[in-house]
Symmetry: C2
DNA sequence: GTATATGCAAAATGTTTGCATTTCA
DNA sequence: TGAAATGCAAACATTTTGCATATAC
């Protein structure tokens, strides 16, 4: 596992290589993303976390930064159907998009870190002539533990 | 294949069985959905189509009807990341959610009607104790035909 | 007759944009 | 220095809500 500082440096390099400037606001945003790698934060979530340490930042800047990072494929923009976009870092050791299990009882989104789709992607290519560059796989259902009354974790935070 | 009238009747019955009333607005909305079974229409799309035949209908009614039908599992609410919810009928002969190929050149959303995930759903259950009731599988990429300049179909309509 | 559904307009939500000012390379 | 980035507020798009009226059962 690479350290936060190293990852930050690498991200900055990728940004500057494409002609974008490195700013304190962008660094602060990336730092928040690094510290919440798999939290599926909304833009507002990211904004609030960045604001804690950099109170003068504007929401628009966070949106613009997240858009930029998405463009650079450094973050992944997701949508779980609740009307808000969510963002996660695409770290070096998780090149491929991961899959999700979305619990309809507690709202928790859990990850499956493997890539189960390489085979199906070949099939798509073979049968439909479609070249897959990305994929999204979400399972909707219930965790056994939720069904039995004791939710896995932070049920109340899943607004 | 069941006729439109039969399907409509069945949908109305399901609605009334749960205590909801059958109204002309709801019928008109369902009819539009039946005639555009796999068109991934936004609420606005549905609204405009219903309005053609029932001009006094309000957008809010369409939203409320689509919400109700989603609740009854008669329609499927989707989200392709462009900020608008899209709706399709869940017809009898396609009980399971289908998969999508989303072309990043022309924006076209094409369907894969098979269910490729039964095996993976068992694996989720086995490895994570998660009981899948639904799933969503989207492939993002490009059709060979789009790459070669001639887009598959109605590229300009994919706003 | 009564609870439910509708239409309209207003509000709420999430996101984008214009523009004057600041900052980075 | 000059182009790019920022912060703010206003604009925007989509969806939801309140409420008086109409409708289905």
């Amino acid at each position: 596992m690479i350290s936060v500082e190293e990852q930050l440096k690498s991200m900055k390099q990728q940004m500057m290589a494409k002609g974008y400037k490195s700013t304190v606001q962008r660094e602060a945003t990336m730092r928040v993303l690094l510290e919440h790698e798999r939290d599926h934060m909304s833009a507002e979530d990211v904004y609030m976390r960045v604001k804690e340490r950099f109170p003068e930042i504007g929401l628009a800047t966070v949106y613009r930064t997240l858009e930029l990072l998405t463009e650079l494929h450094l973050v992944e923009k997701m949508n779980f159907g609740d009307g808000v976009a969510r963002f996660d870092l695409r770290s070096k050791d998780h090149e491929h998009m991961h899959h999700h299990m979305i619990c309809s009882i507690c709202g928790e989104v859990e990850e499956i870190k493997d890539d189960w789709l390489t085979e199906l992607e070949q099939r798509v290519k073979r049968e439909y002539g479609f070249n897959v560059s990305d994929h999204r796989l979400d399972f909707i259902g219930t965790f056994s533990s939720c069904k039995h009354g004791d939710c896995r974790r932070h049920c109340e935070t899943a607004s």
